[in-house]
């Protein structure tokens, strides 16, 4: 356990080493936050209430989604695929630690850094410029970080899984692009799932991706209370467990057929 704690700390420090990049990144998140907030405000100027969302929910959603973007990290993570492609995974297998837990620990450390420095600042700036909705119930302030942590686990487990495509494919990028397109759209990263047509909304909630972005946002907005809140967190935990186990199964299948190219 102590070992994985140290790995997580390294994951944190790897990103903490570039403060200028963090500032530039925050700036980009804020620019996109403004654009999306204005677009959604124009939508809600036409239609005051869409599903559980009103204009105030929509701007709050916008700044949470910008803050979660780097924290949950659904874009561009190919580290495991690169290690498989290069054959370095063979060295990793000799190490006295669990391959998946190693990367999970690393990713949780990374997420802690991004939550603090890429998550909170854009939200605070957004809260100054727009009328955001803060949870009144202290229980939600406790449930939200739990939900974000679960979202990171689900996101990691999915990324780990599609990265393993590199065991079977020479060029993993095709799978990576499809995974990115689907997870971006169905996670609610782009627009709230509540705006989807009904059939698409049901589909989105039946898939694991909603647990990555939309679920913590729903918790923060107080759209799920009491039993529903517990159910939402359980749903996230369920997807996290299922995808992690699937990742383990696929990884061991991959290593069984692993042929390391010499050179």
């Amino acid at each position: 356990m102590r070992l994985y704690w140290e790995i997580a700390r390294r994951g944190y420090r790897r990103f903490a080493a570039y403060p200028a990049a963090t500032v530039a990144g925050i700036f980009t998140n804020v620019v996109f936050g403004f654009l999306i907030a204005y677009i959604l405000l124009a939508v809600f100027a036409e239609q005051g209430q869409i599903g559980s969302y009103d204009a105030s929910d929509a701007v709050t959603y916008t700044w949470l989604a910008q803050g979660l973007l780097m924290t949950v990290y659904i874009w561009g993570w190919y580290e495991v695929a690169l290690r498989v492609q290069s054959g370095d995974v063979a060295t990793d297998l000799q190490r006295p630690l669990d391959f998946q837990l190693y990367w999970l620990a690393q990713d949780l450390g990374r997420a802690a850094y991004h939550a603090a420095f890429r998550g909170i600042p854009p939200f605070l700036i957004g809260a100054l410029a727009f009328d955001v909705r803060l949870p009144g119930d202290p229980l939600l302030w406790l449930a939200f970080p739990v939900s974000v942590a679960l979202a990171v686990v689900v996101s990691f487990a999915f990324r780990f899984l599609f990265n393993l495509g590199a065991f079977w494919l020479l060029d993993y990028r095709g799978v990576a692009i499809i995974a990115m397109v689907i997870s971006t759209f169905f996670s609610g990263q782009l627009i709230p799932i509540a705006l989807f047509p009904d059939w698409l909304m049901h589909l989105a909630w039946a898939l694991p991706f909603a647990s990555m972005v939309q679920a913590p946002i729903e918790v923060f907005l107080g759209h799920a209370r009491g039993v529903e809140l517990a159910g939402l967190l359980a749903l996230q935990a369920f997807w996290g467990a299922v995808l992690l186990l699937a990742g383990r199964a696929v990884f061991s299948a991959g290593t069984r057929k692993l042929v390391v190219q010499g050179g």
Binding site: A20, F27, T28, F32, E46, D171, M180
Partner: protein, 270 residues
């Protein structure tokens, strides 16, 4: 003048070589193009989802927003092909590659620009053209020679405006290394913003994209003329014809910033 023609000849040879080399790996090229096309469609899917809930966004119908979206995607996509590798400038500075360019007897900007031609990013242009087709079928445009000419013109001025913005914000890398994301906010962010009607944004942001970084002239103003729409902002009609001016200003601004940046450039010493 002869110099310019000679320079163009050099550019054609360099870029021709880049294109040929990219076409060597056909499958990889096809997958890359398909990938960028797919990714771009997610953006447009979001617009379609929004219009499932409302009939008009800031008084623009789905077809009209699709028109703006298409113009922005096609022109940004083309600018990206020609000049998008300016995003690599921070790395070139960090690794000292830029110093090599400065020692050669050709313009530094010319050399950076001709160092690549990202045909693999053609996907965005293809997707933009598909959406343009959808827009032209959906919106009833009262075609005149003037409107058709304006559509052709805005496809050119849009590319030029985006190129100017790209050069301007890439120049920031000379002052702040690690500035890729900062430039992205204006290039990719500019592309995103130009996909929507300017009148839905806050007043300060509208002024910014009309008078400082002329994104409103990529789609919004010329589109008002092509689509025969009333300007919600109530600005003079002359704005609808001012895209060439905006393009000239954008390029002049980008060029001036680049010159100023190169002049004060001190190598990182690596």
């Amino acid at each position: 003048m002869a110099d310019t023609i000679a320079l163009f000849g050099v550019y054609r040879r360099l870029v021709g070589a880049r294109i040929r080399s990219q076409l060597q790996y056909r499958l990889s090229f096809a997958l890359n193009t398909l990938g960028t096309t797919l990714i771009s469609f997610v953006d447009f899917a979001a617009i379609l989802v929004i219009f499932g809930r409302i009939d008009a966004l800031g008084d623009w119908s789905v077809g009209e927003v699709a028109f703006l979206y298409a113009i922005s995607s096609v022109t940004f996509g083309l600018a990206d092909l020609v000049i998008g590798h300016l995003d690599l400038l921070p790395r070139m500075i960090r690794q000292g590659e830029l110093d090599v360019l400065l020692a050669r007897p050709l313009g530094s900007l010319f050399q950076v620009v001709s160092s690549d031609f990202a045909l693999r990013r053609l996907g965005k242009v293809i997707q933009g053209l598909a959406v343009l087709g959808y827009a032209l079928v959906t919106v009833e445009i009262d075609w005149t020679a003037g409107r058709a000419g304006m559509l052709a013109l805005m496809l050119v001025t849009g590319v030029v405006i985006f190129c100017g913005i790209w050069v301007a914000f890439a120049s920031v890398a000379f002052w702040v290394v690690d500035s890729t994301e900062l430039a992205n906010a204006f290039t990719y962010g500019g592309n995103y913003m130009a996909q929507y009607p300017v009148n839905i944004f806050g007043a300060w942001l509208r002024r910014f994209v009309i008078f400082i970084v002329p994104l409103a002239f990529v789609g919004y103003f010329p589109a008002l003329f092509v689509l025969g729409k009333e300007d919600e902002l109530g600005l003079p009609e002359a704005f609808q014809f001012a895209s060439p001016l905006a393009a000239a200003a954008s390029v002049a601004g980008g060029w001036a910033l680049w010159r100023a940046a190169v002049r004060r450039y001190r190598s990182t010493g690596t």
